[in-house]
C-alpha cells in the first residue's frame, strides 16, 4: 500500500474474454433463432453455430454464486459466459448437446432460464434500502416479489411483445425507468424536514435555494443562523434539495411509497422511443412483499396480454385503444394527479374534439 498503484489502465480488453467461435465469426453472424425460451441460437455466415442460454439472477449476487456460474461455464462453455444489459447471465456454447444439461444444472441451482423473445425479462433496478441514501422505497424486495408472481412470463414466450419492467427507488431514476413498458418508482410525498442546526454547517444556502425546480425554497434566518424554509404548496417532493444538502430529508415511513408508470419504450422498432406515463400515483410501502404493487403490475400485464395485438408493446397498445380505455380496462382510477402540471403541462391536454364514446 505504500507504493502507488498504477492508474488509468482501463478495463481488460474484451477480446481476452471472447470464446473462439465469436472471435472467428465476429461481425459475421447471419441470423438467429429462439428454439425455446431462454435459448438463442446464432448461426454464422459460414455455418458455425453459437448457443446462448439465458439465466435469471437477482443482480445482487454473492461471490459464491459467481463462482458457481464460473463452474458451470467451465463445465459446458470452456469457461465462457456473459451478462446482458438487463442483468441476466448468458452461457455461451457451440455444443447443442450441452444445452439441456446446462439448463438442468441451472434450474437445480434455483435459477430460471428464460427472458428471451416476447417475455418479461429481468426487472432492471437500483439500490434501494440495501445501499442508497435517498430511496423512497426498497428496490430488490419489490423486484423479487413482482417477479415471483410473473416468473411464468420469464420462462415462456406467450406475450404479445417484449415487456420491459424497471424500478427506481427515487426520482433520480437510476436506470431507464422513464422509458419502460411498466415502471415502478419510489416517491416521497412530504415536504423536506429541515435540520436547522446542521444546515449551515453542511450546505450553502444560495446553492440549496437554487436547486429547487419550483422555487419552493427560501432563505430565512432561524435562531440567527442561516437556514431555509420550504413553501409547502410549491413542493412536489423531487428530492433535489436533499441531493444538494443532507439537512433536508424527505424519507418518511408512512408518506413514502411507490407510483406506477406505463407505456414507455426504448427501441426504435415500429414506434419511436417514448416516455412512460403515470398509471397509479401512489401505492404504500408494504414490506417485505409489497402486495399492492405486485397486484397492480400483474393486473396491467394481464390486461395488456389479453388485449394487445401481436408485437404491440404496452405503449403501442394504449395508443391504439386510447387512454380512457386503458383506465377502463385496467380499472385504475383516474385522478387529478394524472394530469400534468409541470413544465410542458398544456401539451398533454386533449387538444382535439376527436374522442370515443
Amino acid at each position: 500500500m505504500a507504493e502507488k498503484t498504477p492508474t488509468d489502465i482501463g478495463p481488460p480488453h474484451y477480446e481476452k474474454f471472447l470464446p473462439p467461435v465469436i472471435k472467428k465469426n465476429y461481425g459475421k453472424w447471419a441470423y438467429h433463432e429462439i428454439p425455446r425460451p431462454g435459448v438463442l441460437k446464432h448461426t454464422a455466415e459460414g455455418g458455425d453455430v453459437l448457443w446462448s442460454v439465458r439465466m435469471s439472477t437477482a443482480r445482487l449476487i454473492a461471490t459464491e454464486t459467481v463462482r458457481w456460474i464460473a463452474d458451470l461455464a467451465e463445465k459446458y462453455c470452456d469457461g465462457h459466459v456473459r451478462w446482458t444489459s438487463r442483468n441476466n447471465v448468458e452461457f455461451l456454447t457451440t455444443e447443442e448437446k450441452n444445452v439441456d444439461p446446462l439448463i438442468k444444472d441451472i434450474q437445480a441451482g434455483g435459477y430460471l432460464v428464460g427472458g428471451t423473445g416476447n417475455s418479461i425479462s429481468n426487472i432492471v433496478h437500483t439500490q434501494g434500502w440495501v445501499h442508497c441514501h435517498s430511496p423512497a422505497t426498497d428496490a430488490s424486495a419489490i423486484v423479487k416479489a413482482v417477479l415471483d408472481e410473473l416468473a411464468d412470463e420469464f420462462t415462456s414466450m406467450k406475450l404479445p411483445a417484449k415487456m420491459r419492467i424497471a424500478l427506481a427507488c427515487c426520482l433520480n431514476m437510476c436506470g431507464a425507468v422513464h422509458c419502460s413498458d411498466i415502471a415502478i418508482l419510489g416517491i416521497h410525498r412530504r415536504v423536506p424536514e429541515i435540520n436547522h442546526s446542521d444546515l449551515p454547517k453542511v450546505c450553502e444556502v444560495p446553492n440549496l435555494a437554487a436547486s429547487c425546480p419550483t422555487a419552493a425554497i427560501r432563505p430565512v434566518k432561524v435562531d440567527g443562523k442561516n437556514s431555509v424554509e420550504v413553501l409547502a404548496e410549491s413542493c412536489m417532493f423531487c428530492g433535489n434539495c436533499y441531493t444538494v444538502c443532507p439537512a433536508m430529508t424527505l424519507n418518511d415511513p408512512e408518506m413514502d411509497g411507490v407510483c406506477i408508470w406505463v407505456g414507455g419504450k426504448v427501441s426504435n422498432a415500429r414506434s419511436e422511443p417514448a416516455f412512460s406515463k403515470l398509471a397509479i400515483p401512489y401505492l404504500p410501502n408494504n414490506p417485505p412483499r409489497w402486495p399492492e404493487v405486485v397486484e397492480a403490475v400483474k393486473n396491467i400485464v394481464e390486461v395488456w396480454k389479453k388485449d394487445a395485438r401481436k408485437y404491440e408493446r404496452v405503449g403501442e397498445w394504449i395508443n391504439r385503444i386510447g387512454w380512457p380505455r386503458f383506465f377502463e380496462k385496467t380499472g385504475i382510477e383516474f385522478t387529478k394527479y394524472h394530469i400534468d402540471d409541470f413544465r410542458y403541462a398544456g401539451l398533454s391536454f386533449k387538444r382535439t374534439a376527436q374522442q370515443r364514446f
Binding site: D8, G10, P11, H80, S85, H131, D148, P253, R343
Partner: protein, 396 residues
Amino acid sequence: MAEKTYETPLCDELEKGPYPSFVTEIKKAAKKTSYAKGVLGLLELSYKEKIGHWKHGGIVGVMGYGGGVIGRYSDCPEKFPEVEHFHTMRINQPAGWFYTSEALRDLCDIWDEHGSGILNMHGSTGDIVFLGTKTAELEPTFADLVAKGWDLGGSGSDVRTPSCCCGMARCEWACYDTMQLCYDLTMHYQDELHRPAFPYKFKFKMAGCPNDCVASIARADLSIIGTWKDDIQMDEGAIAEYAKTLDIAADVISNCPTSCMEWDGKTLKIDNSNCSRCMHCINVMPKALKPGKERGAALLMGAKAPIVQGAQLSSMFVPFLEMKPPYEDLKDFIDAVFDVWGEEGKNRERVGEFIQRVGMGNFLEVIGLEPIPEMIAYPRDNPYIFFEADEEEEEE
C-alpha cells in the same frame, strides 16, 4: 470477523418464490463476511420501519482518482457495527460484459478478501459494483484489482463508464463494432473518466442498431446507435420460407411505421427511400432481411433522468457517421461538445439541459455543426425567433 447473526423474519419472506432471491444471495455471503450479516440486519430494520438506514453520501476514494467509489455510512452503527462503513466500488466492466471463469474468480477472490462478498452484476450504468466495504479496504482492493488488470469506473461529474450491446460479437444486426468503440472511447477518455472536471456526469452508450439493446437513447448523454444508408438486404428464398408460417401482411407490413412495404403474397417490395430504419421487419424475419451494407451510426445526444427539468431522450445530431478506428470524426465531435459544455455548462447541468438552455441552434453553431431538418421532429411552432443582428445586416 464478527459473530453476530440477526433475526430476519421479514427478509426471510423474500427467500420464498420461484425467482432468484437477493436475500438468499446476501445469506450466502453472510456465511463468509460480517458485512453481509450486518447489511441483512439493517435491511430487516428497514422492512420493519419502512425507511432506509444510510446516511447522506460521504467522500471517500482511492489516490489519484476523483471517482469510482461511492461512500456510504449507516445511520445506526451502534446496532450494526459491521456496516458502519459500506462503500461501493465501481469496477469498469469489459465491453459487452463477456467474462471467462478465471476472470470472474479473480474478482471474487479480491472481493471476498476485502469486502462484503456481495456484488451487483451489474450496476445500471454497466459497472461491476462491489457492494460494501470500509474505507481502509479501498486502496488494497484497488491495488489488487489493478494487479489483475482491472480499473475503476466513473462516478461524480466525469465521463461515466461507457457501455455497449454485444454487437458484432453475437448479433447479426450490428452496423458497427460497438465493443471496439466502447473500449476505444473508454481508453481514450481515461483521464476524463477518473478525474471529475465537468459540470456534471457524461454517459456514453453504444448500440449496434436501432433496437438499442443498451437503452442508450434513454440514458446516455451521447447515444451512438448503428444504422445503414442503403437498401435493406433481402433473401427472396428465405422470404418464401417465412411466408409458409408467418402472416407477412399482418405481422410485418401492417406494422411498418412508414407504410413503405408492399406484399402481394409472393414478392416483398420495400421503398427504401421511405424506410425509417426502424428494424421491425428485420426483427421479424431475421433470416430473410438484413440491414444494408453501407453501415455506420447515428449520434444522438442529451438523454437523462428527470431531475431537475424533466427527463430527456437523446436527440439526433449526426444522422450517419462511418464508424472506423481511430474514430477521429467522432472524437472531434465529442471534444467540441466537451469544450463548450465543460466551459459554459452550469454546475449540475447535463449536456441535454445545457443545449436547451442555450438553444440548439446556438449550440450547433459553437460546435460547428450545420443545422439540418433531420435533427428535429418538426420546426418551431412559435414565432419567437432570436434573429441575429449580423445576419440581418447581411440580408439587407
